[in-house]
């Protein structure tokens, strides 16, 4: 009987010892909660557009570490920038990512999201999600890291394409060509464009966006 007892107590003790490293919620749960909230907001017809947008932004703000993303996106240019420029970039980048993420999710409001897998390695993890539509499945992976017992997103990978990597290449080119202030100017312009009422669904027979 003692043997039986000790056999069970050991896993329990091990589990207890392991706990300090673990967060209250698993990475998948963290993402699932956020995604569910966002989808619920999208599906709520009663909400007016502004309230919905503000609430979605709050959710995204709470989960995405924009500073980490900004640093990574700018790479060497981050170091070259002043503290003030860095902050400006973070602010603009935050707005762009929010717009971008919400814009993409919106198209899939009525689809189901599955959470097939999660890989945790120390303080980093990847949460695999799948958007299931009638004609295809789209894998979206969230890379998260643990800080103060909470998981924060630092990259989103859509069909194998890391958003941060992608942004980085483009932004690098723009900085090379037009300097840091040029980049900031373009970002501001893009945000204005996205916020304006005429930013429909990209139905532009005029094709190109202003360069």
């Amino acid at each position: 009987m003692w043997k039986h007892f000790s056999l069970t107590i050991i896993p329990v003790i091990l589990l207890a010892l392991a706990t300090p490293v673990m967060a209250e919620t698993s990475p998948t749960e963290t993402i699932r909660v956020a995604v569910d909230e966002i989808l619920a907001l999208l599906r709520d017809d009663q909400l007016d557009k502004d309230t919905r947008r503000d609430r979605m932004r709050a959710i995204i703000d709470a989960r995405f570490d924009f500073r980490a993303m900004s640093q990574r996106t700018l790479a060497i240019n981050w170091k070259k920038a002043s503290g003030e420029e860095q902050q400006q970039f973070v602010d603009l980048f935050t707005q762009l990512i929010q717009n971008s993420y919400v814009g993409k999710i919106e198209a899939y409001t009525n689809e189901t999201v599955e959470y097939p897998a999660e890989k945790v390695k120390g303080r980093k993890a990847v949460v695999d999600t799948l958007i299931v539509t009638s004609s295809k499945e789209i894998p979206i992976d969230y890379r998260v890291y643990l800080k103060d017992d909470q998981w924060y997103v630092y990259d989103v990978i859509i069909e194998g394409v890391s958003l941060i990597s992608n942004y980085r290449s483009s932004y690098q080119e723009i900085v090379n060509r037009e300097g840091f202030s040029g980049l900031l100017a373009r970002m501001e312009e893009k945000i204005r464009e996205l916020d304006s009422p005429s930013a429909g669904d990209g139905n532009d027979p005029e094709g190109t966006s202003p360069s």
């Binding site: 570490d65 500073r67 980490a68 640093q71 990574r72 790479a75 060497i76 981050w78 170091k79 920038a81 503290g83 860095q86 902050q87 762009l96 717009n99 971008s100 814009g103 993409k104 198209a107 899939y108 303080r123 980093k124 009638s134 004609s135 295809k136 789209i138 890379r143 890291y145 630092y154 990259d155 069909e159 194998g160 394409v161 890391s162 990597s165 992608n166 942004y167 980085r168 290449s169 483009s170 932004y171 690098q172 080119e173 723009i174 090379n176 060509r177 980049l183 373009r186 970002m187 893009k190 996205l194 930013a199 669904d201 990209g202 139905n203 027979p205 094709g207 190109t208 966006s209 360069s211």
Partner: protein
């Protein structure tokens, strides 16, 4: 190939041609900048992204590519999209999904052969089973019965991936007229894969091309404005799509 990104890849949008060299990027080392933010924000860079690699993209034909990108963009907005929209209004989704299934079924040999060439015999067998099930029970491929009832999912393989698997690099970036983003390896592979599409042997001349076009229109009708959303967000859609394409292909090859 996954339709979403294929579509994404499919169309392009220009901006004036910038002749530009790509600087291979250095992944940030550690920094000295002080940030108003607390602790070790700069250490995050290393900790979070330490196992990142950069994709270096060779694009010596950039001015030409940008031109073709611009052309494809116009083609999309002035022709492909309006046609797809009209089609979408008239034909209900289930039918359009069925059409997509039929075309996809006909491309089985592409997936089957290329999986086999990469030693992925499980996947190859899977494709064969899917083909048989979908053609018989799925009535000529109209229904993806293999997925719906037997949970056998499609595995996307193509000759470009096979070449990549054997170490062939992408070569430089190419924007193909009408077809969109590609590279030397994948563009050449199209020649091979086209001939493994059963459709190639079932129709000729105008009918063949008409069906290929129909396949595309049908795909666009099922898409949710992927291309538009990319254009909307990106500061430079050409660059964005180029890098996305390269990452996407690399990821597919590594699976």
């Amino acid at each position: 190939m996954n339709k979403l990104l294929l579509l994404l890849m499919l169309l392009a949008g220009p901006l004036s041609a910038y002749g530009l060299d790509i600087d291979p990027e250095s992944i940030g080392g550690t920094t000295a900048t002080t940030t108003p933010d607390s602790e070790n924000s700069d250490e995050f860079e290393d900790f979070l992204f330490e196992d990142e690699e950069d994709i270096e993209v060779s694009d010596p034909l950039e001015p030409l590519n940008r031109g073709i990108f611009w052309f494809n963009d116009k083609l999309y907005f002035y022709l492909l999209k309006p046609v797809a929209r009209g089609y979408r209004r008239v034909v209900p989704e289930p039918w359009r999904v069925a059409v997509q299934n039929v075309f996809s079924n006909l491309k089985t040999p592409v997936r089957f052969v290329n999986a086999g060439l990469q030693g992925k015999f499980g996947d190859a067998g899977n494709e064969l089973t899917r083909f048989v099930v979908n053609t018989t029970i799925g009535i000529g491929g109209l229904f993806d019965t293999a997925k719906d009832h037997f949970d056998l999912r499609k595995t996307d393989e193509d000759f470009g991936q096979t070449l990549g698997y054997y170490g062939v690099g992408p070569g430089f970036y190419l924007v193909l007229p009408v077809l969109g983003p590609s590279d030397v390896r994948d563009g050449a592979s199209l020649l091979v894969d086209t001939r493994m599409n059963l459709l190639y042997y079932m129709a000729e001349g105008r009918t063949y091309w008409g069906l290929r076009a129909y396949d595309k229109v049908n795909d666009v009708s099922l898409d949710k404005d992927t291309y538009e959303s990319i254009k909307k967000d990106a500061l430079d859609p050409y660059l964005f799509i180029r890098d996305a394409y390269m990452q996407y292909r690399r990821n597919k090859i590594e699976n």
